[in-house]
């Protein structure tokens, strides 16, 4: 938007933490644990307070679809904090090499750091081996980086997309501690449950095997746009706009697609 630089974070203070009830989708320890930890406090007020947590969820959805010689990776640009919007224009996606991009949903601070760390690793690899890191190598590297923090994980739900050494499209989905798998498509983040079934139907044709066919790049992009529109209808943490990256052998193309702002 005019006057607003991209990736600007015009957010709220994180301290003091939001008072009142536990914000939605955050982990509240079970009542027994809370009561034990706060012995002289009433049952109701125990729900009001919580221990400080290093994690918070900034929401958002990320999805990737792999084609035979292309990949499409999309991420919305809304950053939430509790029930508020911290920013409408924060990117979830990082270009690691010219054939490999990473998108992460979850906590913005973790995402930003993880993306920086991986970019540094990509540069170091290129310096040592005199060639750019391939997408499958980056996939393994990301997994290792995540598992390295097994006992204080990066609160990120990652999707890595790229072309492998043969030029085939590949998408990898991750959990927070680095378990990963190459898949035809994946959605993670706050809207993942809303979108996964759609993609099962429209990319893999699971409910209509008689119609199964290969999707062209333009069809996948239209599908991704539709999926984001649908997610933003029902998920409050997804919206504002979606960044859609398309990688082909000719390079990386980026599109910004507007979503509902409510």
């Amino acid at each position: 938007a005019n006057g607003v630089p991209t990736n600007s974070f015009c957010g709220l203070f994180l301290f003091p933490p939001p008072f009142g009830r536990y914000p939605p989708h955050t982990h509240r320890p079970p009542m027994s644990v809370l009561l034990k930890a706060n012995p002289n406090v009433s049952k109701d007020s125990v729900l009001e307070r919580r221990q400080w947590s290093p994690y918070l969820d900034n929401g958002g959805t990320v999805l990737g679809v792999a084609g035979s010689d292309f990949v499409v990776l999309g991420g919305d640009t809304r950053m939430s904090y509790g029930y508020s919007i911290a920013s409408r224009n924060v990117t979830k996606i990082a270009e690691l090499t010219d054939k490999c991009i990473l998108a992460s949903a979850g906590m913005q601070a973790e995402r930003h750091t993880l993306h920086k760390v991986l970019k540094a690793k990509a540069t170091m690899f290129e310096n040592t081996h005199r060639k750019k890191m391939s997408a499958p190598s980056m996939a393994q590297c990301l997994s290792n980086t995540l598992y390295y923090k097994r006992f204080f994980p990066y609160y990120t739900f990652n999707v890595l997309a790229g072309l492998d050494e043969k030029g085939a499209g590949k998408v990898w989905g991750y959990d927070a501690i680095g378990s990963f798998e190459s898949v035809p498509y994946v959605v993670t983040g706050s809207g993942s449950a809303l979108a996964t079934s759609i993609l099962d139907n429209q990319v893999m044709f699971k409910t209509q095997p008689q119609n199964k066919r290969e999707l062209k790049c333009s069809e996948v992009v239209e599908l991704v746009k539709d999926v984001f529109t649908c997610i933003s209808e029902r998920d409050i943490y997804t919206g504002d706009s979606a960044e859609i990256y398309i990688i082909t052998k000719d390079g990386i193309k980026k599109e910004v697609f507007p979503l509902k702002k409510d």
Partner: protein, 252 residues
């Protein structure tokens, strides 16, 4: 005669006030094959002669990229040079990670020099036996720096180091006033021409390499076929110049 008594250790001064081990390290730099660097207002160029151990081997690589905006040419103990290159790369990456901005060339060179100085003052260790020509372009413009094992560093408009580099320096001194506004192609040509006297054999596209960096150009190394067009411009140069500077070299 004092030299032999006071040159065993880098932590020993001579009565004349010199540290011979450091000077010997600088002599190691002078034994390496030649490197030359020069800059204009927009670009900095680096060229080197790549020596071959034998016909069976490959040419020794001497130009290294440190970051998108910076690179080095080394002269002397190549192994030491490689280690320093790794250090420079790591420092640049760290700086970019922490400050989200490319490292300024002069600051990196100073860091390297401080590191080199440590080894001129520590017993049981020796100085690095390599000199670097660092070229880079940051927001203060293009730069050429020379670093030495002593921990000294100097900034230049143009400089050459290594074996027979005096002829290169003489050549550069002749033309340096024109470098300011020169086009990149001409700068590369001058860099190669200055190395002609410094090489034992005729310069071809296989035994030398050129690198350049500019405000709008990331650090790029040219070797082999990429170097071809510039070689033709340079080698088809004035032979008289070369003879004159070689005579000067022999006279000194």
């Amino acid at each position: 005669m004092f030299r032999n008594d006071y040159d065993t250790d880098v932590t020993t001064f001579s009565p004349a006030g010199r540290i011979h081990q450091v000077e010997y390290a600088i002599a190691a730099v002078k034994q390496g094959s030649a490197c030359a660097a020069l800059k204009s207002d927009d670009y900095a160029v680096l060229a080197c002669v790549m020596r071959k151990e034998s016909d069976l081997g490959s040419h020794q690589e001497k130009l290294f990229k440190v970051d998108e905006h910076m690179g080095i040419g080394i002269s002397g103990l190549i192994a030491d040079g490689r280690v320093l290159c790794k250090y420079l790369r790591t420092e640049c990456l760290n700086h970019k990670f922490v400050f989200e901005t490319p490292m300024q060339v002069g600051r990196l060179v100073r860091k390297l020099s401080d590191k080199s100085q440590v080894f001129t003052q520590t017993s049981e260790k020796r100085p690095y036996g390599v000199g670097l020509l660092v070229i880079g372009c940051d927001k203060t413009g293009p730069h050429v720096y020379e670093t030495l094992p002593s921990g000294d560093y100097y900034e230049y408009i143009a400089q050459a180091m290594g074996k027979r580099s005096q002829s290169s320096r003489t050549n550069l001194e002749k033309y340096y006033k024109e470098f300011k506004d020169m086009e990149l192609g001409d700068l590369v040509k001058h860099a190669l021409q200055s190395l002609r006297g410094a090489s034992e054999e005729k310069l071809t596209k296989t035994n030398c390499a050129v690198a350049f960096v500019g405000k709008d150009r990331p650090f790029t190394i040219l070797t082999g076929d990429n170097l071809g067009p510039y070689m033709e411009l340079a080698v088809g140069g004035d032979d008289n110049n070369m003879d004159e500077s070689k005579k000067e070299e022999e006279a000194t």
